[in-house]
């Protein structure tokens, strides 16, 4: 009997809820035999625009609903556990990485409707005013994933950003992009509205300068940057006073969420 001929997957970028090739038509081959799209500056701009358009809707969802969607992503990822283990090279370490990625999604899903109670305050001002401070998403967040762990690093970047109500443009691991593009399939089936999370693959040195300098990006999680890339991103960030979050040792922490949030303070008089 003739051997089975498998139907191979074309790996694509994930932009605005759609799987697309790079508009540049370019690809690179970090993994033998697989063409991975090499996103261009234009792809990056398209992704930022899609994210910005999606921002009000996602930020406007109830905290509970955002938690449900993130939890759904954990379900979808868990269901494809074996596929991810295979893409990560197999073996126990790969299994542990997938489990940790699932755990991160579940953990941050649970934070969405608790964060304001932990990070917000009611402020006892010296006057007849009711005054409170609440966290709000900062906007479009660029997530630079770590080269390794390729899956866990990406999930630890996007999950806290999304939990806080931000929208994300993620740059995947350059040397190991496949888990990121397969994660996009997980995200695509988790009820995130189009544009809320976008995943790009390609050369970091080609994309990072434009992400750092983009005037409609509000923050960058630079966990995956080298020291030189970080310095360059921080310098470019000054163009529109973005914040660049750099130091995170991979631990799950609510500050990973609040680092990408604004604090809004509201005053209202008290009177009859």
């Amino acid at each position: 009997m003739a051997p089975r001929l498998d139907v191979r997957k074309t790996y694509k970028l994930f932009v605005n809820g759609e799987f697309v090739r790079s508009e540049s038509g370019r690809a690179y081959r970090p993994v033998a035999g697989v063409n991975v799209p090499r996103a261009s500056r234009k792809d990056l701009r398209d992704a930022v625009r899609a994210a910005r358009t999606a921002f009000d809707g996602w930020a406007g969802r109830t905290a509970m609903n955002r938690g449900q969607v993130l939890y759904r992503a954990a379900e979808m990822l868990d269901g494809r556990r074996l596929q991810f283990i295979q893409e990560l090279g197999g073996g126990k370490p790969a299994g542990r990485e997938v489990d940790a990625a699932v755990e991160a999604l579940v953990w941050y899903a649970g934070w969405t409707d608790k964060l304001a109670q932990v990070a917000g305050t009611v402020n006892p001002v010296a006057g007849p005013y009711f005054n409170f401070t609440i966290p709000e998403p900062t906007g479009v967040v660029g997530v630079v994933a770590t080269e390794t762990p390729a899956l866990l690093g990406l999930v630890r970047g996007i999950a806290p950003a999304l939990a806080g109500g931000n929208v994300v443009v993620a740059l995947a691991s350059e040397s190991r992009p496949l888990p990121a593009l397969t994660l996009a399939e997980v995200l695509a089936t988790s009820d995130f509205p189009p544009g809320v999370v976008n995943v790009l693959t390609g050369q970091r040195k080609e994309l990072l300068p434009w992400l750092g300098a983009h005037m409609d990006v509000n923050a960058i999680d630079a966990a995956g940057c080298t020291a030189e890339e970080l310095a360059a991103a921080q310098e470019a960030a000054a163009g529109n006073v973005k914040r660049v979050v750099a130091h995170r040792n991979g631990e799950l922490s609510p500050s990973a969420i609040t680092d990408l949030m604004e604090m809004k303070t509201v005053w209202h008089p008290i009177g009859t």
């Binding site: 402020n123 360059a232 921080q234 000054a238 604004e262 303070t265 509201v266 209202h268």
Partner: protein, 490 residues
């Protein structure tokens, strides 16, 4: 005597004449020359350079202060660095006591500080006396209490000092901005080198005397004077671990660039172009007071000033009539007069910047209204100004003027108000005036700004976090959140 409706109308038409009511200044001693405050002592600058600080209301020299250059900045940072370890390890309750002492000393010397603030900066004495100095003292008192409670503020996160803080502050609220910077830094266990603005150094130098009076350990607080060059040397100094800056967005971006790649902590409180939004159901007379306070408080030298008035079209005419009447009653003049509402513009450079932007408003077709008030012959002055017929593309609707100039725009629907309010790279503050509670919260959710005042404006409190979205900066000052920029946390 009860005022009948008829006589109150008569009163409204009457223009009151005011006798001068100047604040006495004979109890204030300003030295002819100040050194730098480094390591607990006033020292001569190694740069050998001095520059004058003048009273912007008279253009007379008040004193001469040092220009700190490289050797001086090095010396100040070294003093702070050598004090850092012992201050950071001091029993937190003892740190608290020093900071409490400083707050009390501010209260005890409040009148002197208020007069110096008005002399050096041009702000009305009633504002320095009733706002700047009390708020500065309260701010320090508030953070003093945090010094030994940090573990309760951030449980499980092992709060610890970040190290020497280089702090650069503006000239609009000199002592208050100093308090906003120094109080949380010290409470968190850091030492500081602070540079006040070159036009308003005096209250910071009096504060240095207060640190001596409080027996604060030498080097915990260092005050260096100078202009942009001094500030640049300070924030770039390799031993400075945390940079805090309040000032223009333009300079903030330069600092962010300078700090890139150094691993320094950074917080920025930058410019603003706040929308003050008035709906047709708002209590208009109260709103008028809020608009006036929003833009003319401190001559409009306020980063969170309500410089764009957005009025719902249906009440625009009525509101503007009320606003013009109210502006006519503002008293512009001698900052030391207790009846003065609008004092002197802080410097000639700032006056020229305001004049340039106002000219652009006229050239671009906006209509100007200024009350017919007399201005003193000497000093830097600008009439309270209201621009109508302003479009969103006008420079006076986009750029921070930092002066007593209001740009008025109109809107029809709440959605349009939000759209226009957020149509700016800034995001520091906003105001909303309406009697409808649900609309206040709806607006509040959508306004991209760090502080939203509903049916009030320009309120400040030590417990209330302040700071901006977008190009207005990051980090908060005040409240529990105000500790975050000064702590390392797990």
């Amino acid at each position: 005597m009860a005022i009948t409706k008829r006589s109150s109308t008569a009163l409204a038409e009457h223009r009151f004449e005011y006798e001068p009511a100047p604040e006495a200044i004979d109890h204030v001693n300003i030295a002819p020359r100040y050194g730098l405050f480094i390591g607990g002592k006033f020292v001569e600058p190694r740069s050998g350079k001095w520059f004058p600080t003048i009273n912007p209301a008279t253009e007379e020299q008040l004193s001469e202060v040092s220009e700190a250059l490289k050797a001086d900045v090095d010396r100040a940072v070294t003093a702070a660095a050598s004090a850092q370890e012992s201050w950071g390890r001091l029993k937190p309750s003892r740190r608290a006591r020093y900071i409490f002492r400083i707050s009390r000393l501010l209260q005890e010397r409040s009148r002197e500080l208020a007069v110096v603030e008005s002399l050096d900066g041009g702000k009305p004495i009633k504002e320095s006396r009733d706002v700047d100095i009390p708020l500065a003292a309260a701010h320090i008192f508030y953070y003093a209490g945090w010094a030994d409670k940090l573990e309760w503020a951030f449980p499980n996160r092992r709060p610890r000092p970040v190290g020497v803080c280089g702090q650069v502050i503006p000239w609009n609220f000199p002592l208050l901005m100093l308090a906003w910077k120094i109080a949380p830094a010290l409470a968190a266990g850091n030492t500081v080198v602070l540079k006040p603005a070159e036009t308003t150094p005096l209250s910071a130098l009096l504060f240095a005397e207060i640190c001596q009076q409080a027996d604060l350990p030498p080097g915990v607080v260092n005050i260096i004077t100078g202009a942009g060059k001094t500030g640049s040397l300070l924030v770039s100094h390799p031993d400075v671990k945390k940079v805090a800056f309040t000032g223009s967005t333009e300079v903030g971006k330069l600092i962010q660039k300078a700090v890139a790649g150094t691993g320094k902590h950074l917080s920025l409180e930058l410019g603003g172009k706040a929308a003050n939004i008035v709906f047709d159901d708002a209590p208009l007379d109260q709103a008028v007071e809020g608009i006036i306070n929003g833009i003319f408080f401190n001559q409009g030298h306020v980063c969170c000033a309500g410089s764009r008035l957005l009025v719902q079209e249906s009440v625009a005419e009525l509101l503007l009539a009320k606003l013009r009447d109210r502006v006519d009653t503002l008293r512009v003049g001698d900052p030391l007069d207790k009846n003065t509402d609008v004092g002197a513009i802080n410097s000639r450079a700032q006056l020229e910047k305001i004049q340039g932007l106002v000219e652009s408003g006229l050239e671009e077709g906006a209509e100007i209204y200024q009350p017919p008030c007399e201005l003193p012959a000497k000093g830097f002055w600008f009439r309270p100004t209201i621009f109508t017929n302003v479009s969103q593309s006008h420079r006076i609707a986009r750029e921070e003027i930092f002066g007593p100039v209001l740009s008025v725009l109109t809107f029809r629907t709440p959605a349009e108000a939000v759209e226009k309010a957020n149509n700016t790279p800034y995001g520091l503050s906003a105001g909303v005036w309406t009697e409808k509670g649900s609309r206040i919260l709806w607006m509040t959710e959508r306004l991209r700004a760090g502080v939203v005042w509903a049916n009030t404006y320009n309120r400040f409190d030590p417990t209330s976090p302040f700071g901006g979205y977008k190009e207005s900066g990051f980090g908060r000052e005040g409240g529990l959140h105000g500790l975050l920029p000064y702590l390392g946390l797990n």
